[in-house]
Point group: C2
Chain length 194, copies 2
């Protein structure tokens, strides 16, 4: 999440959820990023999935394969309780689909202490690089190995909190996160946007 | 890489290398991000390694485990050929250590056509979250599964460029990228900063 404060750019990692033409962000009331954004400043929210390292025959044609989207918009603070709940639901469901119905919902005190922003997606652009390096014609004759080292963000087996209440079992649907990534499919987020 | 242009923040994914108190960025002469930065504007360069999803018993305590660093500084364009070469070497070596000596070095034309920036790291801050969710005391009695789903960025087996010159073999040192990540060790960049 990028924003400007006193002419200085800031880029801060945050969780988010998308609902149609809106992105939701949330955090504590004291969160500096959210407070800056809630003043109506412009934001650029960039999501990047790194797919691989691209090794060329020449130094300058080395690159990376990735999918990135830059979304531009203005933030507004959500004050309506129902809207805030819906945004928090979307964020939890974005992290683990189905999770919202398994956990304790936010209570009135938590809702008051949570700052929730809605960012309208006024403009967005995507950039994708995939495939092999593009070398100069003459360099293809060089005996230098070239190709791609694919990278996958792979969920590992879930780790129990040591303070689980006695008898609490891992939900069956979490096991999807421990499966190895399918070849050719990005491992990140089973529910990724198309 | 975050920067400001006409009061609008931008966040753009880029490769980089660090050499002491300096970060290097590079790209084509036409690269809008680099051109904006070379005019002396402030930048915030944020690197985030996502380590896991943190699932709590209550909705609002869901979180992520990550290591992030935000570096603030000003960019200057490198014009000295030796400095540009050194920066490009650092970037290639950051992607794959040892690669620089295996590939064709940049020639004079490529150096002229490549914009290379040095960003002085005037100020930086790191933020790390690790471990288990922090739930409210009363919620630990709930029969809700809680814990962490670790995420690892795992290199897959290198893929040959179909246009390799006949007889070109994969270098032995690339095989390190195809090894499964060690438990507890971040899979991203074998040469990551400490």
């Amino acid at each position: 999440v990028g924003f400007v404060l006193d002419r200085q750019p800031y880029v801060v990692p945050m969780t988010y959820a998308r609902d149609g033409d809106v992105l939701y962000l949330h955090g504590a009331l004291s969160n500096r990023t959210l407070r800056a954004l809630s003043q109506g400043g412009d934001t650029c929210i960039t999501v990047t999935l790194l797919d691989g390292l691209v090794l060329a025959r020449s130094a300058t044609h080395h690159s990376m394969n990735y999918r990135a989207v830059m979304a531009f918009g203005k933030a507004r603070e959500l004050t309506d309780t129902a809207e805030k709940l819906e945004a928090l639901r979307a964020i939890v469901e974005h992290v683990v689909p189905g999770r919202w119905n398994e956990v304790r919902a936010p209570d009135a005190r938590e809702l008051r202490q949570t700052l929730v922003l809605s960012v309208s997606l006024d403009e967005a652009s995507a950039k994708v690089r995939s495939g092999m390096p593009i070398d100069d014609d003459a360099d293809y004759a060089l005996p230098v190995w070239a190709g791609e080292i694919p990278l996958r963000l792979v969920p590992q087996a879930p780790v129990d909190d040591p303070r689980l209440a006695p008898g609490t079992e891992q939900p069956a649907d979490l096991s999807a996160y421990a499966r190895p990534a399918r070849k050719g499919a990005p491992a990140w987020n089973p529910r990724s946007e198309s």
